[in-house]
């Protein structure tokens, strides 16, 4: 106890009185060098410890019912359609894409708020996809979620103490009289005053509420946190505070993150690995340099070129960008072949006939495109045609057989497809 009291004094100087009008975060501002020291640089990738989560060919179809008296199923919303990825121990994978691409659904599948239509969710080698609620209960201690909207994700009629303490009670991890000290400890961790446990969520600002949501997710010492747009509802200056807090938590408690966001710059800072989703599929996945510096999929390139850049101020005017026309097609009736082809600037005949496989083209870089290449250097003929056993227009080629190398499994191989030589196998 004495140890913790010492840290508490450090984090929350002054204001031990319980009834000040506004909850104050940090009463005194340290000098700029101190601030900079506390701030984090972009998170690095650590591959030494293997993966904590493996998602294999995960599918989620929501049924669409007809109107009228007898509501028959008339189709499916293919919200998530066969995605595979892995999250490293203590690492973070960013999931980006436009709204409606299935990134939030993926998060909800991994926390098993939805039951997947197909595929496997291997958490530390146990498949969560088909577990019953009873089997899931111990797993829920390992996988927790941080929600987007700090205003609707906290019960307004519960005190902060009971919100953060609820998981402890449900999972009976500590005796009842030990719940409060644990809650106060967590409040300290997320930078709130531990004396405020008996306040209600409406007494806190947006950034502080998001901290409460983070404290609740940390209560059970999870191994994996699914953060669904954790900062997009916050003001710019507060966003940076919360991102730094999440990075500190990641280091201190060794939690892995599945970080879902649409802000490409935030994802770049937080995640050493990124998966880009479009209409329920992963179109490109890889480490930070591969995605941000060497994107090979036209959709990733379009997304990146659409981000407004502050450095543009020095040059003036708008940046040259790839303009995507129209909106994302409906996932009820997605385009045949490659789902992106209706908006793709480089689509050809084969794109309508065959879905491009997620092909590994670098050490930690996979892309699902028939014509992968850097901007302006996309190949003229589909590199995937020989692998799929077709000619350049997507018609079956009697002389070729589909390559067994095309799989949809999580993780990366030691050998990959060489885009220059157009053959498999380069380590």
């Amino acid at each position: 106890m004495t140890e913790r009291d010492a840290t508490r004094d450090e984090l929350v100087p002054e204001e031990q009185t319980t009834l000040e009008p506004e909850p104050v975060l940090v009463p005194e501002v340290p000098s700029f060098d101190k601030l900079a020291e506390q701030a984090n640089t972009a998170t690095e990738l650590d591959l030494s410890r293997g993966s904590v989560l493996e998602v294999d060919n995960l599918k989620m179809y929501f049924p669409v019912k007809s109107g009228g008296l007898i509501r028959r199923k008339i189709g499916d919303v293919q919200a998530v359609d066969g995605i595979s990825f892995e999250v490293q121990h203590g690492g973070s994978l960013g999931l980006v894409g436009e709204s409606g691409c299935g990134k939030s659904t993926t998060g909800r599948l991994i926390t098993r708020l939805y039951t997947p239509t197909g595929g496997r969710i291997l958490f530390e080698d146990k498949d969560m996809a088909e577990m019953s609620n009873r089997e899931l209960k111990p797993m829920r201690r390992q996988v927790q979620m941080i929600f987007q909207d700090p205003y609707t994700s906290l019960n307004p009629r519960h005190t902060v103490g009971s919100i953060i303490g609820a998981p402890l009670e449900v999972h009976k991890v500590v005796p009842k009289d030990k719940i409060l000290p644990r809650v106060q400890e967590l409040l300290e961790v997320v930078g709130l005053n531990p004396e405020h446990y008996n306040r209600y969520p409406n007494e806190f600002s947006g950034g502080q509420r998001q901290r409460i949501g983070i404290a609740r997710a940390l209560t059970l010492n999870p191994r994996l946190l699914v953060a669904d747009e954790p900062v997009s509802a916050l003001d710019v200056s507060i966003q940076a505070q919360v991102i730094n807090l999440l990075q500190d938590i990641q280091k201190e408690f060794d939690v892995a993150f599945l970080f879902i966001a649409h802000d490409l710059a935030v994802v770049r800072h937080f995640c050493p690995e990124i998966a880009v989703m479009y209409l329920g599929k992963i179109v490109e996945i890889g480490d930070r340099d591969s995605i941000y510096g060497n994107a090979h999929h036209p959709y990733t390139q379009a997304l990146l070129s659409a981000v407004p850049d502050i450095k543009q101020a020095a040059i003036g005017g708008r940046r040259e960008r790839i303009r995507l026309q129209g909106d994302v097609p409906s996932p009820i009736n997605p385009p045949s072949g490659c789902r992106f082809r209706t908006r793709c600037p480089i689509a050809q005949e084969i794109c309508a006939k065959h879905e491009p496989p997620l092909l590994q083209i670098g050490k930690r870089h996979k892309v699902a495109c028939h014509f992968p290449g850097p901007i302006g250097h996309h190949p003229d003929t589909p590199v995937t045609a020989p692998l799929l056993g077709t000619d350049a227009y997507g018609s079956p080629d009697p002389g070729a057989t589909p390559s067994p190398a095309i799989t949809n499994k999580p993780g990366y191989d030691d050998t990959w497809f060489d885009l220059d030589a157009k053959t498999l196998g380069r380590a």
Binding site: E98, I243, A265, R268, H269, G326
Partner: protein, 366 residues
């Protein structure tokens, strides 16, 4: 207004919108809230002004005052707002109606909330047209609505004109809002967070559209946003607001490459950049924005400022700094006591947030 004000030195007479010493005060049960305090700016035709600030900094309140959208009975507005030479403050509602939607129009952030859910999109556009063109027939108004929907890039405008707002996607609704704002060819367009709720690809489409339309109609545009990236690509001039006051005002390039106010530094350092060095740190602004019921003494940013130690004495906490030109010419105004902000920025801040930029900047200054 008891404070002496320093009107911007660059006010010239051909500016379409001139705001001088604007103060907006709302009475609340807890006392008066001064949401905008002594704000002056101006926008010329064909120019774009970006207003940047956090929620509650007064950026929306100030521009709503330009369209007279505040409750005139309760709100205390002082100062001067001139749209095309006409004084807005004190204008009665019928006079205001002639300007609103005609020579000055606004695009709101949440298009779903701003469009009426019970009326067809075309009918809402036509209404905006008929109000200012009383002689126009229903058919004319409908034709004009279709023409505007086509102009903002809605496919099959002759069919979509009869859709309800909920049948449009987010990007299309924002386009419809822009069409409504521009239907009377206004000389002043205020876009309040026009792209905040949109995806980046759609955001890029909408920003392109706004820029094309501005070129075509030669209107004055104000973009209110918290995204400095949007400002960098769109604006000619930037005004940074904090706690109801202008804290920095200058040409876009100048202000974003040589900011002189610690709050602007904080904004720059607290957002990551898609092209930044991965060694760059993400340095937040500590604390929370102040309550305007009880604004801090002196400089309103001082409780969150990490650079107060470089100012002698307790000047920051006691005296409100004037909005004065800094060391980089008369067109770049800042409200800060720091004597050598440019030097502090280059030496301390830039080294942390963009280590790769430090050398470039020092070369640039040599």
């Amino acid at each position: 207004m008891t404070q002496t004000s320093t009107p911007s030195t660059r006010l010239d007479t051909d500016d379409f919108l001139v705001v001088e010493n604007l103060t907006v005060e709302f009475p609340t049960p807890d006392g008066p809230v001064r949401a905008v305090n002594d704000l002056s700016y101006s926008v010329g035709l064909g120019q774009t002004l970006g207003i940047v600030g956090e929620s509650g900094s007064g950026k929306s309140v100030s521009s709503m005052a330009v369209l007279g959208l505040h409750d005139m009975q309760r709100t205390k507005i002082t100062g001067s707002i001139r749209v095309g030479g006409q004084e807005i403050i004190g204008l009665d509602e019928s006079g205001m109606r002639k300007i609103r939607g005609n020579s000055a129009a606004m695009i709101f952030q949440d298009a779903l909330a701003a469009l009426h859910p019970f009326y067809r999109v075309g009918a809402q556009l036509a209404e905006a047209y008929v109000v200012h063109h009383p002689s126009a027939s229903k058919r004319d108004a409908r034709r004009k609505a279709i023409e505007m929907l086509d102009r903002v890039g809605i496919p099959q405008p002759d069919k979509r004109v009869d859709d309800f707002p909920h049948q449009f996607s987010g990007g299309m609704r924002q386009r419809a809002m822009i069409a409504m704002g521009l239907i009377n060819d206004p000389s002043l367009l205020i876009a309040d967070e026009p792209t905040t709720a949109l995806d980046v690809t759609v955001q890029a489409q909408i920003l392109d559209l706004l820029q094309d339309l501005q070129r075509e109609f030669n209107s004055a545009v104000i973009i209110i946003t918290h995204d400095l990236g949007v400002v960098a690509e769109m604006a000619d001039e930037v005004l940074v607001m904090y706690a109801g006051r202008c804290v920095e005002y200058g040409a876009c390039k100048e202000l974003l490459t040589h900011p002189e106010m610690p709050y602007t530094w904080g904004l720059l350092s607290s957002i990551p950049d898609v092209t930044a060095d991965t060694n760059a740190r993400l340095i937040p602004i500590p604390g929370n924005p102040p309550s305007l019921l009880d604004p801090p003494s002196g400089c309103s940013f001082h409780p969150r400022c990490a650079h107060t130690d470089k100012v002698p004495g307790a000047l920051c906490a006691t005296t409100l700094p004037e909005l004065l030109p800094g060391g980089r010419g008369t067109s770049h105004l800042k409200r800060c006591h720091l004597a050598n902000p440019d030097e502090v920025f280059a030496r301390e801040v830039l080294a942390e947030i963009a280590p790769d930029m430090v050398e470039e900047t020092s070369d640039d200054r040599a």
